[in-house]
Symmetry: C2
Subunit: 454 residues, 2 copies
């Protein structure tokens, strides 16, 4: 195997029991019409028998023990599929709540480095008759965006298509293309890789870029309860909202759908922090990965990609004012990037992501103010209703990596006519994480009120 | 809190993701007569509401991150009980096989060091209507023997006693006594603690003890597939056999019950290694922790305790010859200890356990022959049928710690009229671990044949 790039190995090197470095995805499916009692057992058996496996799912670290020696990937020839692909069940009463509790547990445990770095659970026991799949994969193999795209690639928009690959499989000839690691965050990560060990130089160039263009420096985030050292246990919450509600607010208020989503998150965070008596005076700052790719550019040009800092305006009580402020912050951010040369853009996103990388090193958090308060990612998903071997996809919820100083992450994806939110939090630092779901719901309604679409 | 003794902290310091340092126990219960559909839900609720908690279950490392700083225990005041006490379910078809598969997974994951170091699962979904409890606790808090005794202490021999404490609780005034850490392995561990950093000196004294008494050195174990570096994933298997069958063989052959149990294990290991084309020419050597406590000594005198090396005679094809050889080896071992002064006994067991301790340090395994091939522990349990709040205990199966170079462990406990075997193996190094259960069954039948009791 070739040498492992630093963008892979750094995720293995910084991983500790407090900082598992895997990403996850929870998929919720409706069984196909006419599915019998043995549907899941048969499904599991057929998946165990399939020999369709994408190459990346056979990769394991050449040197499993946690040293600096993670320089090569090894290929696992005799993969023990029933170790990686697990059959699980919800305890009574089998609500979404029990599903999220189990997902929280699974998302908290480290992957075994002596094997390819992934696990997939097929989950039965939902009382509404649906079933779920939770998948996790190490960030060294795939970042969150790539992992979501990979899962989406196993689906079909045709309910009669029964040739969908397993969650670890691939669709025939497209495999080669999909092996390319071309996602947004990953490309940003590569930038960091190129500048590892020379961050001060990169920072200097970026500062000069700002000065040259007479731009202001990115905003300073306040200290909050979300920016503390974290433990190893996670809490995961997930819910879907109709895309149409977000679209209506955006349209009525002259903002983008992404602005509205950020305003939903901002409103929910404000309510949550007030409830915890922990709302800072200064507004929270979100790090928002964005694609600035031009429409005419091919898929291979991953350079026009960056991470913006967004003022979440959590100091403003009025939802309409908050949305306006967020929208302004985001378009300033975008303008900032579009005024820069590709190299300067690359450097600037490199800086933002480098700060993320540095905070993963234990002990760095405590005394500096955070570069941002949380990451909010909006990953584009399928536009129509998707199916997996005839089972309709009801939701696909991303579960993310947390870092020291970053105890909460919100990642959402569009999925047909819905927006699927996945919220990952440190179980100790972010109590009652699931209340954020109610607060998101309230925030959405308040935005509808402010925009006059309710 | 007082300083953490080295016997506690060493288990935290040597722990890595390849070597989780917790012990576990799987208990299998029959529901009480008349238990309704909500029995387990009500049970869970009442346990969550109980405020009975033994002090050790509130202890967490003062410094959670893995450094040399584990010098004090801290007390967790606001323990999040529903993190530690989990509700779990078996997938279809709900056989013991699914229960063991889930137990294997749970036994493979590290405990969160930011919290008290234990987890307990209440498990529903066994198709025969029974339920199970899997408990795990860090070796720094309790060794395997203490953990089993603790669980036994929550039971009652009276089916109408509905005042049994939760698995993490304690029985009123006896609590103080039970906090004493007086188990067999732990005392041996303390010996190691006293000699940490001075093993060569201790070895010298022990060698002199041998010379002085003109005793031969303990036997040399062959290299086997069981004595290799291990990964983090575990496989757990468990089964009960009637104590009466073992007793009959012992009585007919003039050996002890423990000899017969060791011969069962020896026969099973021989068959397993033949199947794997991996039986060494030289006989396997087991490390067998034994109590040499005199009947008249109080519970507090833990000194007459040691670990014997037993020749398992796996080179002999005849089950009767094997049993005879094992019995001879064990009585030689016992004689050896009884000829020594208490200090010499202590030193000798210190050496054996010190080798165990050293092998936990990654990288030590590879080039030296193992001091023994596996640990086989026989822990005394309750003599009569036990109950937990009216639910009859069908089995209590110990799950043990593995170390580099020690990929398999067999621990059994007597339980009323049964012997409950728990087998813990490295999932990678010991393939088809569950076949050992069949081999144990075969070995028992062969011993009955050899002893003429069938």
């Amino acid at each position: 195997m070739p040498m492992m790039p630093v963008t892979d190995s750094m995720f293995l090197m910084v991983e500790t029991r407090e900082h598992p470095m895997h990403v996850g995805g929870l998929q919720l499916f409706r069984k196909p019409d006419g599915a019998g009692e043995d549907y899941l057992r048969d499904l599991r058996r057929s998946l165990l028998e399939s020999d369709n496996m994408r190459g990346v799912f056979r990769r394991r670290p050449g040197t499993p023990v946690n040293t600096v020696g993670h320089l090569r990937w090894a290929v696992e020839r005799e993969l023990e599929l029933d170790y990686h692909f697990r059959h699980s069940a919800l305890p009574q009463p089998g609500r979404i709540r029990e599903l999220l509790e189990l997902t929280s547990r699974w998302h908290s445990t480290l992957l075994d480095r002596h094997r390819p770095l992934w696990e997939t659970h097929l989950i039965e026991g939902l009382r509404d008759g649906r079933f779920a799949i939770y998948s996790k994969i190490h960030h060294a193999l795939m970042d969150g965006v790539s992992a979501l795209r990979h899962l989406q690639g196993t689906l079909s928009d045709d309910p009669s298509d029964l040739d969908c690959p397993p969650p670890w499989g691939t669709r025939g000839q497209a495999a080669g293309n999909r092996e390319r690691r071309g996602s947004l965050l990953n490309t940003a990560g590569k930038t960091f890789g190129q500048f590892a060990g020379m961050a001060p130089a990169a920072a200097k160039v970026a500062r000069e870029a700002f000065r040259e263009h007479r731009l202001t420096l990115p905003m300073q985030a306040p200290r909050t309860m979300l920016n503390v050292p974290i433990g190893g246990a996670r809490r995961f919450a997930a819910q879907s909202w109709p895309l149409e509600r977000v679209r209506a607010i955006a349209s009525a208020s002259g903002t983008s759908r992404n602005d509205v989503v950020l305003a939903m998150c901002a409103g929910a965070l404000r309510d949550y922090l007030i409830e915890q008596s922990a709302l800072p005076d200064a507004p929270l700052v979100a790090m928002v990965p964005v694609s600035l790719r031009r429409r005419d550019a091919g898929e291979a040009s991953g350079n026009n990609i960056g991470a913006l800092l967004c003022n979440l305006a959590t100091d403003l009580a009025d939802p309409g004012d908050r949305l306006a402020e967020i929208s302004t912050s985001m378009s300033n951010g975008k303008k900032l990037f579009s005024q820069l040369s590709p190299l300067q853009t690359l450097l600037l996103s490199g800086i933002n992501v480098a700060q993320l990388g540095v905070s993963a090193v234990p002990g760095v958090v405590s005394n500096t103010r955070p570069p941002f308060n949380l990451v909010i990612s909006h990953v584009p998903g399928p536009r129509s209703q998707m199916y997996w071997n005839g089972a309709a996809l009801d939701g696909i919820y991303p579960a993310s990596v947390l870092l020291d100083g970053q105890a909460l992450n919100i990642t959402l994806t569009s999925n047909g006519d819905k927006l699927d939110f996945g919220i990952t939090g440190c179980r100790r630092s972010v109590p009652h994480l699931q209340r954020l779901l109610n607060h998101l719901d309230t925030a959405l309604a308040e935005l509808e009120g402010a925009a006059g679409v309710r």
